[in-house]
Amino acid sequence: MLLTSADIAALILTLKLATVSTAILLIIGLQIAWWLARTRSRIKPLIETLIALPLILPPTVIGFYLLLAFSPDNWFASSWQQLFGTSLAFSFSGLVIGSVIYSLPFVVQPMQSSYEKIPQLTLLTASSLGANKLDQCFSILLPMTRRATIAAACLAFAHTIGEFGVVLMIGGNIPGETQVISIALYDHVESLAYDRAHTLALTLLMFSFISLLSIYAIGRRGNNKSNRTPLGIRHA
């Protein structure tokens, strides 16, 4: 009972999507989380709400609005088309955008809560010793919040792998291009190919189990009492 080439293509595409999305999420998540952790702006609750929305919205809702945004007569999609020469709908880039939005709270929330625990004076002390902002980020912020960053990355990666609703709405189902593992599984079940469905499902199950296990193991290793749930958030 081995994976077929189509399944392997879906698997590779899924891993590629998760890797690219996670990388983008870490970069923008760090900045959003840092801003949220430090700001006294009145729009902070608004931003927090927007970022948390994917936690409660059915993925199909997000997928639906993204589909509208990706339609060629939309200003966003048309300017993307002009800029990059490709359409967003039913494309890998479109999937990345969808995944980033969908997984954003899973990255921002653990990062934000760990950044809030870093005393302002620690960073000011570093700057008085001659560290500029970028230096502070790599010498103080990231090392001190290493566990949160790892947890955020694992969550983003695993969550993207498990994505279904958003992908279904905006990705279409083009093998090798936008067909991810969860969609391929759905296809197998639809076409009553239960053997192939089993193989894929088991692969996905094992992967999720191992990634979660490693997150909790990382969480256990530290002795940070204030952060007993290593994820900092509840998984819906």
């Binding site: 004076l121 000011l124 002390t125 700057s127 008085s128 010793l129 001659g130 230096d135 001190m144």
Partner: protein, 374 residues
């Protein structure tokens, strides 16, 4: 000089200070809590910014740190380019780094041509044994010693201290204070030291800025500011004076140092007052200058020089001023040659002896503390 011109609303608090602070020795910022000491220090460091609408400026030896004028626009030198070090109440060591790596952090970011001696600093502050520990494994005093070493190793132009001893217990406080006393003589880096503790002020400061309610009351050398009866320091329970004076001789038989007050007047200080540090013999060498402290409560007054008293130091003085404080007590300002001494007496004694300004009397000094090299 550190030239400051701050006129700024900070929340509900208004800070209004125009002054110049010497950039050598220890300058202390002293005042009650809520007087704006730490706010001023944070603005000098660049940790807080005064409001942009008012005309503020900070110059460190002609180097603009903060400037807001119509001619130049708004200039704010980033903290990491000010070359300062900041020692806080809580040490603020980097918790993810060992002691050695905390120190290395400062060295890595110090200017290349700085000639700071790493081993000398670690030896002076006794931190070789702590190298591999994490900050959380250190006592409060050890943390503060590492923080001070880290500050020195960054080779700063100025070190800012925000009540560095206030979070320590008595034993650790004394130890760190002792280190600070030694260090400011060894290194030429100016210290700007915020405190509300008069003991720290007397032992460390060369120069004092007195703050109250966001305003500067006085900015003068310590020897000048302590005996001023118009200032609150003289009315403090532990008020006193600091005198920088020359060693005349050392009496080996009685272990006493003879100090020349000028005008053929001498004070005897017990050698036991010398801290058991390596500088003790140097302190006592004739002609070297040392700093002593005399508390007002240790000085009593007699109309005649007593010959039947155990008090060693009885010197003729002239009363220049009397100021009543609270609880039936008064502070008397005395001069001996050109030195000022304070005496704290009860109003009852003053009336019984009939003391008045201009009168020549004898000061009986019960205790003199030797603070170290002047």
């Amino acid at each position: 000089m550190l030239d400051i011109n701050i006129n700024s609303q900070l929340g509900s608090f208004k800070l209004n200070i125009q002054t110049s602070i010497p950039t050598h020795g220890v300058s202390a910022i002293f005042g009650p809590s809520g007087s704006g000491k730490s706010s001023l220090l944070n603005i000098i460091a660049g940790f807080n910014l005064p409001d942009k609408h008012s005309m503020n400026s900070i110059y460190f030896n002609d180097q603009p740190w903060l400037l807001n004028s119509d001619a130049t626009g708004y200039i704010n030198r980033p903290i990491h380019q000010r070359r300062i070090a900041y020692v806080t109440q809580t040490a603020c060591l980097f918790s993810h780094l060992t002691v050695q790596k905390n120190l290395q952090y400062a060295i890595d970011r110090s200017p290349e041509n700085s000639n700071i001696d790493y081993h000398d600093i670690c030896t002076r502050l006794k931190i070789h044994k702590l190298f591999d520990k994490l900050p959380e494994q250190l006592s409060g005093g050890e943390q503060q010693r590492v923080a001070i070493a880290r500050a020195l190793l960054s080779a700063p132009q100025l070190i800012l201290f925000d009540e560095p001893l206030s979070a320590l217990d008595e034993i650790n406080r004394e130890e760190v204070l002792h280190h600070l006393e030694q260090l400011h003589h060894v290194f030429e880096i100016p210290f700007l030291y915020v405190t509300h503790n008069i003991e720290e002020l007397m032992r460390l400061a060369d120069h004092v800025l007195l703050l109250d309610n966001g305003k500067l009351i006085a900015n003068r050398p310590i020897s000048d500011i302590l005996p001023d009866l118009n200032l609150p320091l003289s009315r403090h329970q532990n008020s006193g004076v600091i005198i920088d004076t020359a060693v005349e001789a050392f009496d080996t038989q009685y272990q006493l140092i003879k100090l020349n007050l000028g005008g053929d007047q001498f004070l005897w200080v017990s050698g036991a007052y010398i801290n058991s540090n390596s500088n003790s013999n140097k302190n006592a060498a004739p002609q070297s200058r040392i700093r002593i402290r005399i508390y007002a409560k240790d000085v009593s007054i007699a109309l005649q020089a007593a010959t039947d008293s155990s008090i060693l130091n009885i010197i003729p003085v002239t009363i220049t001023d009397i100021s009543e404080v609270k609880n039936g007590q008064a502070i008397i300002k005395l001069t001996c040659d050109n030195h000022l001494i304070l005496s704290r007496l009860t109003v009852k004694s003053i009336q019984q002896l009939g003391l008045a300004p201009g009168q020549r009397v004898f000061a009986q000094i019960k205790g003199i503390a030797l603070l170290g090299a002047a």
